[in-house]
Amino acid sequence: MFKRALARYRAINKKLPSENSIAARVAVLAAILTGTAAVISQGYFGAVTNAIAPTGIILGFVYSWRKRDNANVGLKIMLSFALLFVTFYFFYIMVAEPYDTRVPLAELFLWIQVLHSFDVPARRDLYFSLVAGLVLISMAGTLALDVSFIIYLALFMMFALAALFLTHVSELGLQPRALSRQIPVGPTAAALAGLSLILLGISAIIYIVTPRLPGMRVQSLPFSAERALQAAFRGGLLNGGHVNLNERLPMSRATFSGQAYPGFSEALDLRVRGRLSRDLMMRVKATNPVYHRAQVFDTYTGKGWQQGGGKPHKTAPTDRPPLALPQLDIEGAVGARETIASYYIVADQPNIVFAPYQASLLYFPAAAVWQDKDSALTSSFSLDSGVVYSTVSHYDQADPARLAKIPGIYKNKDVIAYLRLPSLPARDVRLASEITAGLDKPYGKLAAIQTALRQRCGYSLNAPFQREDQDAVDFFLFNSRRGSCDQFASAFVVLARLNGIPARLVTGYAPGDYNPLTGYYEVRAEQAHSWAEAYFPNYGWIAFDPTPGFALPEPAVFGSDSFIMQRLSDYAKANFGPQLRLIQRWLAVIRGTFLNVYGLAVLLLIGALAGGLMLARVRRRDRMPINPAGEAQDAVIAAYQEMLTILAAAGRPRRLPETPSEFAAAQTRNPGAVEIKSLTQLFEAVLYGRRAVDEEQAGAAQTALAGLLDALKDRRG
């Protein structure tokens, strides 16, 4: 048993023949350096690693090439110790910071690659290097936040394919230099280009049909380096919009900043208008598309919304993430759908901790956060660009059929605050009654309100400004009848409260545009949003989004939506809208022109003609014999044989292993080379060509033969 194991070990570790192809080694090195650059470019490593790793890999490859025929026992021992050291260092880091394994793992692979580069004597070692390069590229893929990774991937694939090709050439015993003489450049380049296109096409097809399954099962989620809590912080917003609902606002759009959504403040002023920019605010990797909650407002003032009811409290500090968040709205924890979301802040945000509803765990770069009674979270510092944190929440939107049966009896005294309203014009009260007339259950009433709002009012970011003394919701419902999500959500909450249903207004971000290539939701400033939540006994707060064009995100990623095609389409529409519209217009023109009975008939006719011509051509070619018999052909063959006899007599016999072409090529510097080449070409055309040789070509063979004789005589003379 032991002997067999030992024999097996020896067989595996047997020194293999060295790989001598420099071209293959250079291609492998280029692929590995691309993988290294891809990892380094993600910006997680220090300057020392960034400088030493690529240099070390290059030096390692040069050293390995020079020592490829040696046993290198000493080197192997040193590399083994170095490998142990980097592995030990990896585990040390993992124990110290066990939260996001990707970066230390990427660094480990990087150093393993550096060490391995010093010991790649054989072809098999080069293959290992390629796999290591692929691992580096993959690590970069898990760290990358944008599509620039695709450039690295394309480069890596290019070099890796070149390396595979060259190692295969070397495996066959063909020398690349000799190969370049044998293989014509033009057809080879065309074949490789065609092959690359086919490869790209097949990759795209596989990519599109690959199912996207729910994932994110890992529990050590990413977050950035920990920051100290601000000692003076006692809750509240930093760098939020400065809103004072008691101020008289200048009624112009100049008061609106395209970068900052007014809803990320302690109050929401419904009198301001404007369009938000398309600037990227953050990237979110989430298991489900979710609304990213920011602020919750419970007090309507007639001009906007305010937060009421006490200061936020600090969560229990912890020295090891995650932070466990108290479930203040525990009634809402119906179901157990786990939603994991990682937030990568791109543009500076206020100190709001955006999170899905009912976040229970928070991997955050601070020992504590502040939580208000409506579960809105704030940090003691602003969320600047580069901050990363993750949340885990468990929440299911309740089944509408069940909600529809719940009566509007509220025993919980805490929800009374969500029924308060200022004095409203009588027409608002009448409208609320009219909308829900005949309905007795809260869910039915809320659904009716949502429908009525969508029918009654239109979505617009350019709604007219209201009069200073007019109620904002009343103005929206009866005067402007146009508004943004703030107006719709506010009107929904007000009408709900008028019907005796506790409701509140929530601001935050919509899920964002899913980038199917990176897998991140890209959240832009313009996707800041507001929606409503209504209270249901035993079910807690249920979200409603009355704004036209918006719908609460579906929690599931299964079904037809699980396939990337739909996501690609959405992404293309969001980012390449004008171009797509142009293509659609062209397609419409084409459809209009050809997609009718006559057009189809013409297309079919053209197709049939083209197909018939191609078929006839192929059949004619296949029927044509390779060696069509005939006097002209015989004459060419006879001339070639005579040429061989003459040359043999002149001391230049054709050796057995030489093909006619090789023999002709060998005569380049001898007299009569042109005639020999010409006659050889004719001879090969007769032997292998499908086209019959005519009398003229037979004459040319005779002429070439005569020319050869003359050339030989001249030499003798």
């Binding site: 990774f149 295969h168 990519y207 996207r212 399954l213 980038n515 290539l517 057995l656 292998y688």
Partner: protein, 406 residues
Amino acid sequence: MARLSRLINQKVITLLSLALAMFLIATNVQAALLYLVSSALAALVVISYAVALWSVRGLSAARRAPAEAFEHVPLTLEAVVHNGGRWPRALLSLQDDLAPCVKPALAWLPGRRAVSKWYETTLPRGIYNYASFTVSCAAPFGIWTARRTFTADAALTVLPLFEDIPTLPILEAMSSPAETLHERRGAGAGYDYLGIRDYRRGDSLRVVHWRSSARRGELVVKEFEEEIASPVTVTVVSAGVAGETGNTTLDAAARLAATIANYCLTSGHPLRLIGWDDTAGPLSLDRPNLAQALEWLAALKPAAGGTPERLAEETAVWVGARSTVIMVTADVNADWRGVAAAVESRRVRLLTVLVDRASFAAGKKPSPADTSAATALAQSRATVYIYRKDESITACLSEPWRATAR
């Protein structure tokens, strides 16, 4: 399915495993970019499979080989591969079953063209009537290997090598005065005077012995003796074969037999070859020329039934008195006294060439031959030679083994 399993190799498994791993990682950590890597790897496997399969379609191949060659002497084979398709093919590899170790590669095979490839190889002794010829392709990345096998008529006989020995003392006339192998068999066209006899019609007048004719009163002619070499029977034992392919004890026996046959034919000894085939039974070739003898030896295959005892019996059937039997054998596990008795019962002389099995055993260094067989034979008055691996045949046959030589 079997075809697919033959195609799958370590590289394919590695690539598919990596693609699956990338898919799982992409799913697990929602790293959508890894779906791209996974797709690219899967596409690479698919396209490599398709290109490799396509590359060997529409090809035809043939082999050209000489009719005869000697074992272990470089031999030039020619492979002609014709691309009947329109598109060129690249990086084809030719695997010739005649020459299993040789894999010549074709870099480029243009469409509708034939390309020849010459390669040198050495082959072990034998007759190669049919041998397949495989064109394989793993282009362009060496991931999948598609193969296409063509049956090519080889009709190649690889003859055993022999040494042109100047003398084989044991067969020479004066090797032993008591047991000279050359005997005076009768009248002929020699120069030594034998006697007189009555004139027969057709006798030349030049040979009339006039004095005796006058004395007798009738024509009497002189008669001259003719020296006739004694027949030699070479018996090749094909049982108990050991050693590596191409250099087995039977190959060595064939070489020894060929060397002895060559000497016999050049020195005028009538020759007979005796062997054994498990299917056909006893084999015998009488009075061959050298080419026939070599072809006969080339065809000789290991046969469990061709033991020394059985071949001794067969030899006894064929040989006449006063001839010499040379038995070449690597099978030492025999009743040598019985063998000697069986052969010598025909009043023939037995020479035995023992091929030392120990020196042919794979992985073992040459060791002293098992001399028990030699001792038994020597005790039966047989002459014994011992041949060891890689030894010169000339040197081996120059001096018989003697028990004291140990």
